[in-house]
Symmetry: C2
Subunit: 481 residues, 2 copies
Amino acid sequence: MAPVSLDTINPKVLKCEYAVRGEIVTLAQAVQEELKSKPGSRPFDEILYCNIGNPQSLGQQPITFFREVLALCDHPSILDKSETRGLFSSDAIERARQILDQIPGRATGAYSHSQGIKGLRDAIAAGIEARDGFPADPNDIFLTDGASPAVHMMMQLLIRSEKDGILCPIPQYPLYSASIALHGGTLVPYYLDEATGWGLEVSELKKQWADAKSKGITPRALVVINPGNPTGQVLAENNQKEIVDFCKKEGLVLLADEVYQENVYVPEKKFHSFKKVARSMGYGEKDISVVSFQSVSKGYYGECGKRGGYMEVTGFGPEIREQIYKLASVNLCSNISGQILASLVMSPPKDGDESYESYSAEKDGILSSLKRRAKTLEDAFNKLEGVTCNKAEGAMYLFPCIRLPEKAIKAAEAAKTTPDNFYCRGLLNATGIVFVPGSGFGQVLGTWHFRCTILPQEDKIPAVVSRLTEFHKSFMEEFRE
Amino acid sequence: MAPVSLDTINPKVLKCEYAVRGEIVTLAQAVQEELKSKPGSRPFDEILYCNIGNPQSLGQQPITFFREVLALCDHPSILDKSETRGLFSSDAIERARQILDQIPGRATGAYSHSQGIKGLRDAIAAGIEARDGFPADPNDIFLTDGASPAVHMMMQLLIRSEKDGILCPIPQYPLYSASIALHGGTLVPYYLDEATGWGLEVSELKKQWADAKSKGITPRALVVINPGNPTGQVLAENNQKEIVDFCKKEGLVLLADEVYQENVYVPEKKFHSFKKVARSMGYGEKDISVVSFQSVSKGYYGECGKRGGYMEVTGFGPEIREQIYKLASVNLCSNISGQILASLVMSPPKDGDESYESYSAEKDGILSSLKRRAKTLEDAFNKLEGVTCNKAEGAMYLFPCIRLPEKAIKAAEAAKTTPDNFYCRGLLNATGIVFVPGSGFGQVLGTWHFRCTILPQEDKIPAVVSRLTEFHKSFMEEFRE
């Protein structure tokens, strides 16, 4: 008798899904193994992972200054050696010293305060203040191993049962649906309007909120992802104000996923944090609960493997803060390198620092290249038969809509899968390109999409476009009515 | 209307407790602030944190080789520079190169496979094989941010409701009670026998198992912490065999907390992993489910801040393995520096490597000092009136029993706290020494204990002993009948 079977595990685990690393990716890994053992067995020689926002896996280089500081903090005993001056920039050496001075006993190998090292939280709070023009309190910062554990913590805090609802955009980043499922709550969907560039209409929020209430669900929080994942839109400030008012009026915690705050590619849009918007409306601590998530994995830094991030928690009473602290303390603390990196991305080199020029060049190079790649891919999608793609205003993704022929939909049915999955499987098998089917994010019933990152390096983009275009043509030929 | 209050949060969060960073530690932080703002306001000038297994916070130095490799992996562009040879040992440079070669694209800033980088898992599996003399499969390894998230994952997998029970030692490390509470299960306590050096009797397991069953609880798993936390005992191999047989017979998953595997201080005891014991009995994959937790935070490495660790998952079918993989994938991956460090602690320098001698000297220095400190503290406790302390065979803690006078118990009652908490508060206020009250770990009703780490540096141990002894004397004087 096996002690554990699918019938006896936690059904919430069974229910949870995470498409970004789901079926198509497992298939891609198998094809990659096949390519290794049988080179030439496919019409392509490498897998192009466009499934996940993982810039450095596709060749993006880390920011040199950040890595210098991390290396010095990892091995502080070289700080005073003469060779070190030849290997590291002087401001990186200086910054590493400053950081080490803020760590009790300079012990980067010790558990820190459960919210993270105080001096690093000071730097982050100062960075938020500089960004927003409103005060930030280091005691509101909880450093976490990337943004995901922070999201889980808030879901764990808020969800009591399936009667508690979390309003989530559809399409959404599936961390949210996964976390809500794992914590046994109900995802209350609100639909982004594809026709208006993935617009977030407050009328839709109100409608879905009322609908949930009528079903006996208590909406507890509203998730907003801005810039959008997988949808790439950037919210207008006025729209954000309406959202803030809605949350305030209905007593919803505003869970603001702001991990793409540096990824805005169009001049007419600008990132505004939800806390700043709320403060600019005159709402303070007592008026609204806002949690802002930030991560070192995105932006121009793209340091996914470092697992750094934080949440800024505002508008909760001290007794609730204590409960959040307790949850953080059960896991002791987040990793110190990630903590250091989170402080660095919120306080990068300044004009006049030795590294400033190279830092700026690296940063601008990455962001302007991402912008070009986004545009090239967007244009390419819009040239495909039956495909329409909204503007990539921000984030790292495109989420084009594809109108599939009836014959393809039937073929998918026969293959016991969804049409978008069927398309993505075909694409992978024919080209090695990995997209995530729209089903993994949610989409209006009867519409089909896929998510594609804008992360392949620029010299690979032409190949992506031509392979995709060729596949798409032959797919449409095959299944045309 | 505040959207969130203690009445409306998840009651499982409210229920969860984690004493290792609980009330006494919060009080200690307040006293530390007081010392900073008003030096001389107390009869001591520093807080001695003996509450938590956090070696480097108390001055333990990291192993140089490990930090060299981490720094080089953080900033690989210095690998080829001539100055680097002057700063780093040649085998650290070589090892960093090997590790980077195992990372796709040498990208230490990319998300890895959700179980961790394959090459690092290979090294860990080889280390387990070398330790145990039985095969280990890299596909059984799940790298995690320290051992805590691994424990949470298993609890999340196994616990469906409060009808599911997890057998835990009492006293236990409160991560277990916290995780069980957060996941809504029932902790089924089995008591370690203080009279026999915290012996783990299978008769007690059977009794508590039957008792749980009679209450309608389904026991799902047995937690064993070996070497013991907070109790410091090391299990005898024969005892482990009985435990394995019990789990096999009753269909329990054996959750083996083996994070102190390097911390054994007595010649008559040796660490044996539960998987090795099970294999030595002829039990394979199909016979018993064993999960072994390991961490970079303990041992002689003590790298708590790096948040590295792994679990080795054996004896589960592929369909369950897939569910565990899914849980891992929702958080994408553990931090890469922690992954690298986990591979290093399982494959340290070997005889003949340039760093071997210094590595061995550092390792032996730390372990032999820990052994001396354990003995000194154990002897000191046993000299205190009304205090008895078992031998510290392993781990990093002592858990002495203290018989408190009736008058002290009444005074605690008047102060609305438990007697052990009352004692620890008094100790902190009088001496700056931070112990954790036994209530945080569980203890036989009517007995009182505290947990003390053996981690203060050796030059501080005499002060700990004399301050403690003095406080204890005056405490007993004050409350003697």
